[in-house]
């Protein structure tokens, strides 16, 4: 009786199931040294086949209703996977109200709240939205699934990635999420400086000090530091853009008026490629951004207390400190990332 029990409990282990080739994320040294391990869901591990499929889908306009728009159209590699427009237009020529977000280091977003307003939890769920958004790809998932299912290559690629040739939206999203997790930016001049492989100029070093000085820039409380090389806290703040808040941001998602005007802190990596700036792309240059924090802050009921000297418009940086701060910020741009295939 006992022998039968043990044999029965082991019998399932001999079933030959297809397993795609594991491809764990390559964690950069600085991240390894300073940060928690990245978020990779157990039900969507990184695999060679899944990543390749996600990349193909990311670059393929088949996801859009009229086969004219792919993810990459608003998230181009040369722009650190965003675009240069204030607002991006969808397949029908309509524009959204938010600036396209750059895509990198997404697996280190520990709270897993995505978009400027945090309306989606998990990278796997994020890809669902642009496909059906009337202002973007304006498609339906049944239509996407049907097109992919009838495609000459995709059923086989899904078979290789997930062990099934039956395509559904969740597998599409999983594949894209796997690809997006591989978009890791960690080789800027400042990264190299922290690893002892590059030397900053005097201006860049002073700019870093302005960034870290609570009496000057005080940028580090929201935008990370040498100890948090993501250069974002991935949290939502009202950074004093408007007296009257029209776009509620996080407040629209939570329904809490205390969240009105709060948007996710963007990473300061790759600023050289990601203009324009802010959730609505209102600032065309880094100088405008720095001037905003220095003299342009607008008071409102939900402005973050970290926005100091609001009554004076901001921290009143000198022209030299502004120039040096800009020089430092540009050391966070990773030219290898936009060239890497």
């Amino acid at each position: 009786m006992l022998l039968f029990f043990f044999c029965a409990s082991c019998s399932n282990e001999n079933v030959d199931t297809y397993v795609p080739t594991p491809s764990p994320l390559q964690i950069p040294q600085l991240f390894q040294n300073n940060l928690l391990t990245p978020v990779v869901p157990q039900d969507n591990p990184q695999t060679i086949e899944g990543i390749a499929l996600g990349k193909k889908l990311f670059f393929d306009p088949i996801l859009s209703a009229d086969n004219t728009q792919a993810c990459v159209d608003c998230h181009a590699q040369e722009n650190a996977f965003t675009d240069t427009d204030q607002f991006s237009d969808g397949i029908d020529g309509f524009f959204g109200k938010r600036n396209s977000m750059p895509l990198f280091n997404l697996a280190w977003n520990y709270d897993e709240k995505f978009f400027w307003d945090g309306r989606v939890f998990s990278l796997e769920h994020q890809a669902f939205q642009p496909v059906t958004d009337p202002l973007e790809m304006h498609n339906t998932w049944p239509q996407v699934e049907q097109k992919l299912q009838q495609h000459s290559e995709y059923p086989n690629l899904f078979e290789q990635a997930f062990g099934t040739s039956t395509i559904d939206s969740s597998l599409v999203s999983k594949a894209i999420a796997q690809f997006e997790r591989t978009l890791i930016s960690s080789n800027s001049k400042f990264d190299q400086h922290l690893l002892g492989e590059a030397t900053l100029t005097t201006k860049e070093l002073n700019g870093f000090n302005v960034f870290m000085d609570e009496t000057k820039g005080d940028c580090f409380h929201c935008h990370g530091s040498d100890k948090n090389p993501l250069w974002t806290d991935n949290i939502f703040h009202n950074n004093g853009l408007d007296v009257t808040i029209i776009d509620l941001g996080l407040g629209e998602v939570t329904g809490d008026p205390a969240d009105n005007g709060k948007f996710k802190t963007p990473s300061l990596r790759n600023l050289a490629f990601t203009a324009p700036y802010m959730h609505d792309g209102r600032f065309a240059t880094l100088d405008e951004v720095i001037n905003h924090y220095s003299e342009g802050l607008q008071n409102s009921p939900t402005i973050d207390p970290l926005m100091k000297k609001v009554d004076q418009g901001g921290v009143q940086l000198s022209a030299q400190d502004k120039a040096d701060l800009k020089a430092f910020l540009l050391t966070l741009s990773d030219y290898h990332f936009i060239d890497n295939n």
């Binding site: 928690l36 040498d226 100890k227 207390p305 970290l306 926005m307």
Partner: protein, 256 residues
């Protein structure tokens, strides 16, 4: 006999496995700390945040928008001087209703302890000798120009100032540093919170309370119109926080 042996064996195994469900008079006690918060006796949770509804000792009306603080070095001391320091630290995050309960992985033997304590913040050894990935990811580190290490507390909100305008305050506690001279001068601002003696017979829960109002009260009546921001590099402000912090924590109950 050969048939009976396996039955006896599994019966014994089953009985033994059930025995651990009874936690009376445990051989090792699990220690839990619960953290609650009040403003001069009125309970404060994150649901009370973002509304100006508190008045500090200096008469300023204020709100709380963020409250996080670090505790470490939970220590059980016996009358013979033996001490047991429980591993780990806890970043209490009231804003996100996270880590309000902390159970260190280390357990302690039952018995009488002459004092139980924890450290508000990190002592210098813990503050400077380790690189904490979770605290880095939480943007909890202190700039190198202020000596590095980690914050002890971040308390933020808005208050109504002298000209009746709402303005922000950022009340961050770190190790005090004087940067005005040629060399940095430091003063310790972490402190030990004593909870008194306890006799442990079972798994035990300590109910800890922070009276947030005390940060602004005693011995320094805090004037937010003067000290509301850029306090990390302000040596005197950090020393005042340290002094006011001594009466902030209290022990509500010990349950076991």
């Amino acid at each position: 006999m050969q048939k009976i042996f396996p039955i006896l064996f599994f019966s014994l195994l089953t009985l033994l496995s059930c025995g651990t469900d009874n936690d009376d008079n445990v051989s090792q006690a699990i220690v839990t700390f619960n953290f609650s918060h009040n403003w001069d006796g009125v309970a404060v949770t994150n649901s009370n945040f973002n509304t100006i509804q508190y008045t500090n000792a200096n008469g300023e009306e204020l709100s709380i928008t963020k409250l996080r603080y670090l505790i470490s070095n939970i220590t059980f001391q016996k009358s013979d001087g033996e001490t047991i320091v429980l591993d780990g630290y806890n970043l209490v995050d009231v804003t996100n209703n996270a880590n309000l309960t902390f159970s260190p992985t280390t357990t302690i033997p039952p018995g009488s302890y002459s004092n139980v304590s924890f450290t508000f913040g990190f002592n210098n050894e813990d503050n400077y000798n380790n690189n904490y990935a979770d605290l880095n990811a939480a943007s909890w580190s202190v700039p190198g120009m202020l000596g590095g290490g980690y914050h002890y507390m971040q308390l933020e909100g808005r208050f109504i100032n002298d000209i009746m305008t709402q303005t922000g305050y950022v009340f961050h506690a770190i190790r005090a540093v004087d940067n005005t001279g040629a060399t940095q001068v430091f003063e310790d601002t972490f402190f030990e919170v004593d909870l008194g003696e306890v006799t442990i017979t079972n798994n035990v829960t300590f109910e800890i309370n922070m009276n947030i109002a005390e940060w602004f009260k005693n011995p320094n009546t805090w004037d937010l119109n003067v000290l509301n921001n850029m306090l990390m590099p302000n040596f005197n402000a950090q020393m005042m926080m340290f002094q006011n912090g001594q009466d902030v924590f209290s022990l509500n109950a010990v349950n076991q």
